[in-house]
Every structure is written in C-alpha cells, then in structure tokens.
C-alpha cells in the first residue's frame, strides 16, 4: 500500500488477507450464494428458492402487455399530441349536403360538428352527417381501382376508360349521378361533356320532380325555393316530412322551433297541421295531425284551394270534382285550417310531398293566394340540392333498351339499388359496352360495371358546393387518402387528358370568383379564409327583395284542371295503400354499412336494424296480427301487388291512417358491406315500374298475415306515459298564456305538519358547489325527436354498437336516448287502458340521459364507491374501480345506466361494431374517452372530457372558463337548440338566463322559469337536468 493514498477495505477480511476471501475476491459474487449444486442443500434453501421463484413468476405475470406508441420523428406542423385540430369542410353524400367542422386528433378525423357560419345547414348535423366519419374508416371501401372485377391500377383503368370512350361512335354516353350542387364539379363535368358529348342525368332517391317541374312552369326556375318556417305562423303539410325525411331538415327544424319556443318574452307560437298517412316526425310534432290516405291528398289540396278561393276570392275557378269524393274528406278540420291560414295571410305556408306536377301547381296557387311568396317562401334563394328529373331517367332507360348507349358513368350513384326503376335498369345495363362507376365500394351497380374508379371519401377530397344559389361551402381534406382512391373529378380530368388536377381547377375557379365576393385581398389570403370559414356568400343586392311573378297564372289553371281529372280517375279499392318513405336513420341506404345508423332507433317506432310495415291498430286486429312487446315478436305480412309478393314484418303503429301502411326505403341492400347486407327489405321492388315519375304511394296492395313470427328490435316497447305527470308535463298555449305555470305537477308529501314539497322534507344535506355547477336544460317544446344528438353522443363517447340480437335482449348501450310517448285516451285511473295508445296520439319526445342527481341514488349503493359525486355537480363513473354489481343501475329511477354485458371491442362476435373491432375502424375512436371493458357500468358523463378540455384551455389562456367554452356533444348536434348546458354559478351564462336561476341553496336551484321542472321531482334525487314543459298549440273550437 502506498503512502498518502487512502485505502478503503472491503472489510476486515481484506485487511487480514483472509485466504478464503482472496480466493473469491475477483469473482462477481465474492460470497457464496446460498444454493450450491452439492447435495448438502437444506430443505430450507429449497423452500427459499421455491418461494422466490413463485413470487418472481407471479409478479412478472402481473405486468400488463406493453403497447408501443411510436413518436413522431419530425412533428408535423400544427399537430400536437392530445390537442384536437378543427377544419371546416362539407359533408356530401347522395344529394345531401352539410357544412361541417371536422375534429381531428393526431391527424385522424374523429368527429363531425356543424359549421355555425353556415346559414343553410343551420350549423348543425343530422345523424347521417355525424355517422359519415365512420364510413371513412369502413374497410368495405375499395382500396384500389377495379377493372373487370379484378384489382387493377389507375394507369390501366385510365387507359381502358379512354380507349373505351374513344370508341363511342354515334352512340350516347351518360353520366348518372345524384343532384350535384358543386359548381366546380359541374364545371369538370361540362368539360368532360364537351369532349365526349355526354348526357348528365341527375336523380334523387326521393324524387322532387313534380315540385321542380311545377316550379319551372310557374317561375321559370326548375328549383326548390327557400322555405322559411320561422316566419310562418300557420303551417300546413300534406305529407311533407320537413322535420324528418326532407332534404336540409336541420335548417327546417331550426326554423320551425324558432316559432315554437315560448318564454317570458314570447308567448306566441306557430301552429302546424299535418295531413299524412304514416306517422312522421312532422306529424309527431304537429299540433293537429290528421291521418288520411295519401291518395286523398290531392282532393284535400283541391278542396283547400276551393275553400280559400271562396273565402279570399281570387276570382279564379274552383277545381271541380265529384261530390262523392268530397265525402272522403274531413271537411270540418279543413275549414279550420282554412280559417287559420286566412288569419295569417303572409305568414303561412302550405307544402306537399306530392311528386305530381299538377298537384304541386295547386299548392303554388294556394301559397300565392296566401301571399306566402316573398315572405315564407323566397324564390330568390333556391336550393340546388334536389334537381333530379324522373323523365330524364326514364329516357335514359329507354335509350338503354334501344341499345343506343355506348357508355355510362355512375357518378357515386347506385341506381340499380336505389332508383325506383332499379330492376328495369339492371336488365338494360347488359346492352351497354362501357360501364364505369366511381362508387367507393362494390355495390349493386358497380358490380355490373367494367371499371370501378373509387372516389375518395368527402373527408379526403377537395370540393366546393353551392347548396343554395350564391351560398357556397367548401370541402377540404382532413386526412390523406387512406386507400388508393381518386376523387371522381380528378378521374374525369384525367380521362379528358387535362393537364391540371381538380385542386388547381377549383382554386382557379375561385380566383375568378374572388371579385364577386368583393374581396380585395391577395388570393392566398382570400383562399385561406374561405377554407377557414368553410362557407361564403355572394350578396346580390338586385335580387334581394323580389316579389313572385304573378303573371303566370294561366298556365297553372290548366294544371288545376288536370287535378280534377286525377281526382275523378282515382278509384277506391279494397287494397291497402302503401306509403314509402326515407327514415332518419339509414335514410336512402347510402350509408347502410354504417352500424351507428343501423342501430339508431327510428324516432317514431324506436325500431333499429330493420324496416317494417307500419299498420293501424284496427287493421292489425283485422289481420289478426299477434305481437308481443316482451319478446318483441311480431308477424310477417305478405304484401302482394303487380310487382310481386313479399314478406315483411309488421309494427302496429298508432296514428297510421286506416287502410294505409308505411314502409321505409333504404333497406334490403345486398352489397353494402357486412354490416348492412341483408338488413330489412328492399321496398323499391314494390314501386310501379311503368310510371314515368316516382310515386312513393302504391295503392291496391293485398295484405295477408302469414302468421310467421319475426323478432324486430326496438329500444322502447312501452308507448304511453301512464299518466305520470312528473315525467312528462305539458300544457296548451291558451292555458300557458293565462297561467305560465299551467300543466305544472307539484307533488306534495303528507307530513305531520301538513303537506310539503319534496325538497322541504329531504334527508339530504345537499352539496356546496363553490366553483362550477354544471346544469343542463332540455326544452321539450324545441325537441323534435330527430335523434342526431344520439349519434353525436355515440361518436363522442365511443359507445359501442351491439347488434340486433343484443338490442332484442334490450342491451343497447346508448347513453342518451330519446323517449317517445304517445298519449292515451283512457281515464287516468284505468291503469290497463292507459297502456294503450290513442288511435291518433299526441306525441312527446323526451331526451333522457344521466340526470346527474345531486342526491344520486346510484352513488349511495355502490359498494366500492365507483360512482361518486364531483365538486361540480357531476355524477362521475370511475370505470377502473367498477366491479359490476349493477346495483347502481337498478337503483337509477331513470334507467340510464348501461352495463358492458360483453366485451364489445376486439371481439369477433361483435364485428358489426366496426369502430372497435378492426384497426381501421378504431381510428374513429375518441382518444379522450376510455373504451370500456367488459363488466363495468357506464353512462352519460356530461361529456366530462369536454369540460376538462374547456377548463384546461381557459387555464392555458390564464382566464376563467367562460360560457360556451364547454359544449356537450348532444347540444352541439341539436339543430333546434333544445339542449342547453352550462354553469349556473356563472350569472351570465345562457343556462342561468334560460332557467332564470334565482337562488342556489346547497345545489337546490330555485328557478323563476315557469316551464322548468325536474323529472320525478317527488323522489327528491334533485337532478341537474331540467326539462321545460311542452306547450301544444291546439286550436280550440
């Protein structure tokens, strides 16, 4: 050892140079390990080994499997992990349009909201629009172009098409599409047409041909004018479901409810009369609904003209028809309608769904007589979203038959499935040498085509739209193309050997239009602004205030004459009258492979995963239909007409006009994809193939009960409210005007000190919410029951789809449901009678979700405290803690809790839940919301992730959360603003103003708003969701 160097010894052994120590000093483990190979191992050692081994293996097994997240090597500009980006874009499918804002997370679109800048789509979304984001991630979409039904590449496809087109000769080439409202797309189509002399035929799955033709004759424009329901005080609809199956129903809903909401400043509302055969959403929301046969609509319209003509006196002829026809009408109500209309001249509106030109002409005459034009109907703003012409389509098929068509391009259309002449079309297509489709999948039409040049999804495409003249909307991609697809516009440009692509064409078009928008900015800034806003408007002062053209009356008089012929030729027969319609879920079936839409319950019947015949209860008993609401079993009926005979399940529908049946289109697809195939029955087969216009009313249907059982999935099977006034409260406008509290149900508890309100005898201490107190208000007068909130909730909160079988087991997972109640004619004490709905019931919709009770019954019963109360009034669910006893759900008076009966993700048995069962589908999941595991309870969280996001945003901006920072998924999807959410502790919040919060005492709100009530107030769970009483505006005799 050297002097001056400090030396440290490992121990006394080293200092002593113990030979045993020296021997082992250099080994890794100088000391003996307790276990040796020799036989002197003690039993103790063995046990130690065992013990350690067992413990080590067990703890190693506890480790959860590691999933690697791959970080960005170069972070993309504007993409921050966990922060959402929003892009304005435009939804476009079929003939439909909607201006939207797309939420993307880490580059994936996950949610579609409405674009509030848009004046046309009301800043809201429909269920179709909300769901379309899942269609983007549908594996069924084509991943490459197809040539002769084989996988191909774009070069071969392009060469094939160009070669094919060049062989055209003197034969025709057709483009078959839905209504195209994109100016730049039309520009491309025009260029294409110029080169190849193409006939562009547009059609709509639900045709407006009759209305368009009538308008063209009357106003010179083959367009649908802008209706403004918000200006109408009396609305009369003849079968036109403007709140439901209509185009742009979002806006109509919004306009309509503007006239329906009443409050302390506004005690007036509009009155809606509906004459229809199926109970539609419009009928359900009307004050007076008159069930009639659709074939009688024209007589009603003619008679209404006669009455109005007589009373107002236009000096024009009445429409004459046989008196025996008049006996078919309910004249008393028609007279009331006429009186109402006359009272509100200039603020009334009459609409009809008829696809007959002459009938629509009479409607125009009526509206003109009522001075609606220029007031409730604006001819200067016309819709471009419905332009279809049935006659052109018939011509096309005739050309096909005569073999004069060389080529046909199906532009994103599937007429072999969704056109009423589908079967004729299918047979005739054999005569065409060149068939091209741009469909995104192998569907009923594209499978017959030589080429499929798959179009990109609208979320992958550039485009512009002009849904209403001079109102534009822009589509920008929010994700790179997922598959090897190509925008159809680019395909067209490629096929005419254009050198520019569609994006530059689009940009150039807008460079030209910049002046029209009165913009002096540099183009790039202008363009960026267009894309940022997503919408633009050309304000044309000249056409702003233009009155309708009154001098075209003569032409229409002849049409009126045709109506009398129509009426006279109408023969009543014994058969049933079938009315086909598009529902609000699957609609025309374009998105049939979307499980969200398939599982969305129909707003009226609450049926999902099927279409069905709806039938009047009286007719049902005549046919001896046996249904069982418990097992949801019903009978299959045999439908027979000239087109064939078919078996379809039946639902007994209160309100269905006697002698009529309803059936939804959009079902029975054969090639939609694994989710949509074989769901329901294709009603197009029943339509008359000889007619030149689509007529959704088919008469003389023979119905027969096969007595075969069929189970049809419904999410609600009990129809009536059982006179439970604390659930649904309603009043009439007259009474409301007299006493704003009318219809209020105040439960009183008998105590030793007399009768008391429930809140005065509560056992609860209440809560103090010092910071925020989240409250929701739902206006039953504004809610039309459309159900777009249901889908919005599903998308936002990763709610699984469970499939028909599980809905039949009553295990659908929706956190938010819309309860639909029919009124009953029975006495309140007749409990059995109350179960039966009235024959033509009043309908009430009640959105129902977790009520976030202040005294929550679920919280007290959970043994492990998995559901607890937050300091802001939320009833929160901790999935990790939940052990699934389901006691909370049993004890929930609102039955809003949902249990994960099975594992719905990564489970082949639930492969219809495509958002959770394949890697592509999973891209749609909201990363802010946990995908729940099997065996846990879940329910509405008041979108707690959005509340948190809002709070974090406020925090990062060093300010207090302000009203509107937090929006619920349901509330933002609601076109009618029926759902308002906010912090009542914030004095200036909308919710505070709406409910007129006077005092908050330990979470108990004292409200000044007369219409506000809490559902099931008497059990004193003190919900944080308030409902505003429904007011009906019935005409008193």
């Amino acid at each position: 050892m050297k002097k001056g160097n400090k030396t440290y010894w490992k121990g006394i052994e080293q200092l002593k140079n113990d030979p045993a120590f020296v021997k082992n000093a250099e080994s890794e483990f100088p000391e003996f390990l307790p276990i040796k190979d020799s036989s002197d191992n003690s039993r103790r050692d063995f046990l130690k080994m065992m013990g350690f081994g067992l413990a080590a293996v067990t703890t190693a097994a506890c480790e959860a499997p590691v999933k690697y997240a791959i970080p960005y090597v170069d972070k993309p500009v504007d993409v921050d992990a966990t922060l959402a980006n929003y892009y304005a874009s435009t939804y476009s499918m079929g003939s439909d349009y909607c201006s939207v804002v797309v939420k993307t997370r880490e580059g994936r679109p996950i949610k579609i909201d409405g674009n509030k800048y848009s004046k046309i789509s009301a800043g809201c979304t429909s269920s179709q629009v909300e769901s379309s984001v899942l269609t983007l991630y549908d594996r069924q979409r084509l991943q490459f172009p197809m040539l002769n039904n084989k996988e191909s590449n774009w070069r071969d496809v392009d060469n094939f098409v160009k070669e094919g087109l060049s062989k055209k000769g003197s034969n025709k080439i057709y483009i078959i599409s839905h209504s195209v409202n994109s100016p730049s797309t039309l520009d491309v189509i025009n260029k294409f047409s110029k080169k190849f002399d193409v006939n562009h035929v547009e059609y709509d799955t639900s045709s407006y041909s009759g209305m368009l033709d009538a308008n063209e004759e009357s106003f010179g424009k083959r367009k649908i004018p802008f209706y403004d329901f918000s200006k109408a005080k009396t609305i009369v609809s003849f079968g036109y479901d403007f709140l439901g199956s209509s185009f742009n129903h979002d806006l109509f809903n919004q306009q309509f409810t503007k006239q329906r909401v009443v409050n302390r400043d506004k005690r007036e509302m509009s009155r809606l009369y509906t004459f229809e055969s199926n109970l539609s959403l419009t009928g359900a929301n009307s004050d007076h609904r008159i069930p009639i046969k659709s074939s009688h609509t024209k007589i009603y319209i003619a008679e209404l003209w006669n009455i109005l003509n007589g009373k107002i006196g236009s000096g024009r002829d009445s429409i004459s028809f046989n008196k025996s026809k008049r006996s078919l009408l309910k004249l008393d109500i028609l007279n009331k309608v006429a009186d109402d209309l006359i009272q509100n001249l200039g603020s009334s509106l009459v609409i009809s769904s008829s696809n007959d030109k002459s009938v629509q002409s009479v409607v125009i005459m009526i509206n003109e007589l009522l001075r609606s034009y220029g007031k409730t109907i604006d001819l200067n703003r016309c819709y471009n979203t419905r332009k279809g012409d049935d006659s052109k389509m018939t011509e096309f098929i005739k050309d096909l038959d005569s073999k004069s068509v060389h080529g046909v391009i199906f532009l994103n259309s599937n007429p072999v499935y969704n056109h009423y002449l589908s079967s004729r079309l299918k047979d005739a297509l054999d005569n065409v040498p060149l068939k091209i489709s741009t469909s995104d999948r192998i569907d009923e039409t594209s499978i017959l085509c030589d080429v499929i040049a798959p179009d990109s999804h609208f979320l992958e495409s550039w485009n512009d739209y002009e849904p209403i003249d001079n109102h534009f909307s822009f589509g920008q991609p929010t994700i790179r193309r997922i598959f090897d697809t190509r925008q159809h516009q680019d395909s067209f440009l490629r096929w005419i050997d254009s050198e520019v692509n569609y994006f530059s064409t689009l940009k150039n078009n807008w460079r030209k239009k910049q002046k029209l928008l009165k913009s002096n900015e540099p183009f790039q800034i202008f363009w960026d602004r267009l894309l940022h806003d997503g919408v633009a408007e050309i304000v044309d002062e000249k056409t702003k205030n233009l009155n309708p053209l009154p001098n075209i009356f003569k032409t229409r008089i002849s049409e009126a004459g045709k109506v009398s012929n129509l009426i006279e030729s109408e023969t009543d027969n014994d058969g049933f009258e079938l009315n086909l319609y598009h529902n609000l879920t699957v609609s025309d079936g374009i998105q049939s492979n979307n499980p969200w839409l398939q599982e969305m319950p129909d707003p009226i019947s609450k049926v999902c995963w099927d279409n069905y015949i709806s039938i009047n209860p009286k007719d049902a008993s005549k046919l001896e239909v046996k249904t069982d609401v418990g097992t949801m079993t019903t009978n299959l009926l045999k439908l027979e007409n000239n087109e064939g005979s078919f078996e379809v399940p039946v639902i007994i529908q209160p309100g269905q006009a006697e002698g009529t049946i309803g059936l939804a289109l959009g079902y029975g697809r054969k090639l939609a994809g694994p989710v949509g195939d074989g769901i329901g029955f294709d009603a197009n087969q029943l339509l008359n193939k000889k007619l030149n216009i689509q007529n959704l009313t088919v008469s003389n249907i023979k119905l027969e009960n096969t007595f075969k059982d069929f189970r049809i999935a419904q999410t609600q099977t009990h129809d009536t409210i059982m006179a439970r006034e604390s659930v649904i409260q309603e009043t009439s406008l007259d009474q409301y005007k007299k006493d704003p509290y009318s219809g209020k149900y105040q439960f009183k508890v008998a105590t030793s000190k007399g009768f008391k309100k429930p809140e005065d005898v509560t056992l609860w201490n209440g809560h103090e919410y010092k910071n925020h107190h989240w409250v929701m208000a739902i206006d039953l007068n504004a809610c039309t029951g459309c159900g777009s909130c249901v889908i919005a909730c599903q998308v936002e909160n990763n709610i699984p789809v469970v499939g028909k079988e599980e809905v039949l087991n009553r295990r659908e997972m929706s956190w938010l449901r819309i309860d639909r109640y029919y009124s009953s004619d029975a006495d309140v004490n007749d409990l059995q009678g109350l179960e039966v709905a009235a024959e033509n019931p009043d309908v009430t919709f009640q959105p129902m979700m977790c009520q976030h009770c202040n005294n929550a019954p679920c919280e007290t019963v959970c043994p492990v405290a998995a559901t607890t109360h937050s300091s802001e009034g939320l009833n929160q669910m901790t999935y990790n803690r939940c052990i699934g006893t389901r006691y909370c759900a049993n004890n929930c008076p609102y039955k809003v809790r949902r249990f994960n009966w099975f594992k719905y993700h990564d489970n082949e048995q639930f492969d219809k839940n495509i958002a959770m069962n394949n890697d592509l589908g999973k891209m749609v999941l909201n990363p802010d919301v946990t995908v729940r595991s099997r065996g846990v309870m879940e329910k509405c969280s008041f979108c707690v992730q959005k509340i948190q996001e809002g709070k974090l945003l406020a925090k990062s901006e060093k300010r207090r959360l302000k009203d509107g920072d937090v929006k619920m998924a349901c509330g933002s999807a609601c076109s009618t603003d029926a759902i308002v959410f906010g912090d009542v502790n914030d004095k200036n919040s909308r919710i505070n103003n709406l409910l007129q919060v006077e005092k908050i005492d330990k979470a108990t709100l004292k409200l000044k708003e007369e219409r506000a009530y809490a559902v099931l107030d008497e059990i004193r769970v003190s919900p944080n969701v308030w409902y505003l009483r429904k007011v009906r505006n019935k005409k008193t005799a």
Binding site: G630, A750, R886, W901
Partner: protein
C-alpha cells in the same frame, strides 16, 4: 335432575340404548355407502359439472350470457342468492335459538340443519360473487383492505357492503358452531375406528376431533363454548336477512323501498329454511333408517314453525298491498297493481298460493303429521319462496318509473345453469357430509335418551 312429563311423547323412539345410538349413526360413516347414495352422488356430480359449464361461460364471456337487460339488471342471480341465504337460516335458528330456549327436539335435527346452513350459504355466496361484472377485482375490492390508492375505501353506505360483512360473519360463526358440535362425535368415530383397527379412519377422525378426550372438564368447556356461540349466532339469524332485505329496502325503486322488509324477510327466511330442512330430513331419515331419531313429532313441530312464519309472510304480503294503496304514491300503487295483474301475475299468484295458502293446510293435524303431505308442502314452500324473491326483484324492476324503459326479463339456459350449479354444489356437499360426518348429534341425543327415550317413557 331433569324431570319430564310422562305425557310428552318420546323424542326418540324404538327403545334405543346408548350403544344403539352410536351404532345407528356411526354405521353410516363406517360402512360402504348404499347404492342410493352412489346414485344420488352421481346425479349431483353431473348437475355440478353441467352447472360449472354455465359458470365457466359466464366468467369467460360475461354476464351477458344471462337474460338480464338494461332495465332488469338483477333477476335470477339475486333471487337465487336471497333464496339460498333464506334456506341457510334454519340451521342456525335451530341450533342457536332453540338451544337457548332449551328445545330438546332440536337435537336430532340440528346437525344436518346446520350442515345445510353452511352449504346453503356457500351456494348463496356464489351469486353475489359470480354476478359481478369483474369478479377478479371485485373479490378484493369489496373488502375494506388498506391499499395503495390513497384514501380509497369501500363505500360503507352501500347495503351490498353490509351484505359482505353479514354473510361472511354468519358463515364463519355457523361454521365454527357446527364444527364444535361435531368434535365429540368425531371422537366417538375415532375410538370405534381404533377399536376396529381401521388405522386411516382413526388417523383422520383423530385429527378432526382435535384430541377430544371426553374428560369432564372438556365437556364443561364444550358446553360453555356452545352456549357462547349460540348467543353470538342468535342475533345473526336476525341480522343476516335483515341486511339482505336492505339491499332492496334502502333503494328508491317502488316495490323495493319498503320498511316492512327486514321482519318480512327474516320470517320468510325461517319459513323457507324450515321447509328445506324438512325436505332434506324426510329423505335422510328414510334412506338412513333414522325414523327413531327424527320422528313424526319433529316433523310436526317444524310444520308448526312453518304455519307461524308462513302466516307472518302472508300478512306481510297483504300489508304491502295495503301500504301501496294507503301511501297514495302512484308509483308504489302501480308497482303492486302490476305485480298482481301485470305480465308477471303468474309469478305473484304462484307465490301467494305456495307461501300463503299451502302452509295453512298444516292446521290440520292429519296433514302436518303426514310425511308425504309434509314433503310435498315443504317443496311447494321452497318454490313459493323462490317466487317471492323473483317477484320482488323482477316485477319491481321491470316496470319502474319511466315507462320508456319498461321491459321483460327472460332467463337463458345460463341462468338455469347457474342455479343448477348451486344445486349440484349443495347436494354434492350434503351427500359427502351424510357419508363422512355423523348426521345426528350423537352426544346430544345420548344426553336426552335417559329422560325422553321410549324406554324411559314407558
């Protein structure tokens, strides 16, 4: 010196001596079981295995295998749970309360009644365990264990947690009580085995008897411990079903939210427990030739308990109806209206017939001393009591506050499988018990032989 009236009928017939008692009871343990036993055991095992498949599927695939739905989230599971717990009441009642009341007739039946209690509680416990969505964590999280989650604790306000405490306490006390009673009898078997030179048997029963030496001091301690445990078990008889009833009574659901539930449930539990004891004993005494120990007198006395508790239950049913009307609460009224006339009317009326009407037949001495009639009625009562729980749980849930959620419940074969599983478990355990354990408490029976045996009474 105990003096007993000559007028009382003897509790043990057949002129048994002390040796006869040992012989009759130990014979079952020592001899090969009969063919009946083998047949019964095989059937029970098959039932257990079939049921175990249902358990396996439930655990592997989820609770969705059952017929529950968004509206009715408890049905057969909790029905079976309450039913089994109810059955598990008779044993302790017989051994504890009747011990305190010095009811000597209990001595012939308490052993098997207690065994039944233990097995019934095990069967009952299967349901709260298996009905959990996530059993694997629920098993631990329902216990108030210190943990690393900060201050995370169980929810002491939840009746389900009270259940956990009530049932585990009840089970452990019953088990200890039962076992202590078994010790002297195990010693008897041990001694007989030693004498006969059956070494294995002597070794095993020697272990089970904890070295019982039969000394006076040991007997004295044995008596004291029995008494103390009887004292402890007595309140448990009342508390367990009281707490089980609170699962319902503390909720807000019409038809559940009822203060009458605790006494009503306890009476119902004793009612069903005695019925089950009767069912089992009638078979056991027949198969094992124990008619001299378990006499008609025993059956009659138990039948009297059934009349009393059955009538209490009947009054409770009527009180519920009255209160529903008297409360003036529409929901409550509807809940009961719906029970009586709604889609589950058949369940309600089955319950009424089985539980209220059938036990009234025991007012006739001929019926209550007739073995076949007793056997049939005991089974009817058990069916009725199952329906009672089904009616309370399902008919209250299936139509509660919001008519939009009203639904029906349909069981699946897995619901049935779970129920079958517990039957398999119960009978397998009971048959094993009847083979390997003395089915009658020899020590106690011997103690009363001198003053109530047939010889003495003559």
């Amino acid at each position: 010196m105990h003096v007993e009236s000559k007028l009382r009928k003897p509790l043990i017939t057949g002129g048994k001596t002390l040796h006869d008692v040992s012989e009759d009871i130990c014979k079952r343990v020592e001899q090969k079981p009969s063919l009946y036993w083998y047949a019964a055991m095989i059937i029970s095992n098959i039932t257990l295995i079939v049921g175990a498949y249902a358990v396996y599927r439930t655990l592997w695939d989820g609770i969705g295998m059952w017929g529950l739905n968004k509206t009715v989230m408890w049905a057969w599971d909790i029905t079976n749970f309450v039913w089994w717990v109810g059955i598990g009441h008779a044993g302790t009642l017989i051994s504890a309360i009747l011990l305190l009341f010095r009811q000597r007739w209990r001595m012939a039946i308490n052993r098997s009644a207690e065994a039944m209690t233990i097995f019934a509680v095990i069967c009952a416990a299967m349901f709260p365990l298996l009905h959990m969505g996530r059993l694997w964590i629920g098993l631990i999280w329902v216990l108030p264990l210190p943990n690393t989650y900060g201050s995370l604790w169980v929810n002491f306000a939840s009746p389900l947690l009270w259940d956990v405490f009530a049932i585990t306490t009840y089970f452990s006390v019953s088990l200890v009580f039962w076992y202590i009673g078994l010790i002297p009898d195990f010693a008897t078997i041990r001694d007989r085995a030693k004498k006969a030179g059956r070494k294995v048997s002597a070794y095993i029963y020697g272990g089970l008897s904890f070295g019982w030496d039969g000394a006076a001091k040991t007997w004295s301690r044995y008596e004291t411990v029995s008494l103390v445990l009887a004292g402890l078990a007595t309140p448990l008889v009342l508390s367990v079903h009281t707490i089980v009833s609170m699962d319902f009574a503390t909720s807000v659901i019409p038809g559940w939210h009822t203060t009458i539930f605790p006494p009503y449930f306890v009476a119902g539990a004793i009612f069903s427990g005695f019925a089950m004891v009767l069912t089992l004993l009638i078979i056991t005494r027949k198969v094992y030739n124990l008619e001299d120990y378990i006499t008609i007198k025993h059956l009659e006395l138990m039948n009297i308990v059934i009349i009393v508790t059955g009538s209490i239950v009947g009054i409770a049913y009527l009180t519920e109806l009255f209160m529903a009307w008297y409360s003036g609460v529409a929901y409550e009224q509807y809940a009961f209206y719906n029970r009586v006339t709604g889609p589950y009317w058949w369940a309600y009326w089955s319950m009424m017939t089985c539980n209220v009407i059938s036990p009234q037949l025991f007012w006739f001495k001929k019926i209550r001393t007739n073995i076949v009639a007793t056997f049939i009625i005991s089974i009817i009562v058990n069916i009725g009591m199952w329906f009672e729980r089904f009616v309370i749980i399902v008919t209250s849930l299936h139509r509660d506050y919001l008519p939009s959620s009203w639904a029906m419940f349909y069981p699946t074969i897995y619901d049935l499988g779970m129920y079958i599983f517990t039957f398999g478990l119960f009978f397998t355990a009971f048959l094993a018990f009847s083979k390997y354990f003395p089915v009658i408490n020899m020590a106690e029976v011997k103690s009363i032989l001198k003053h109530t045996g047939e010889k003495v009474k003559k």
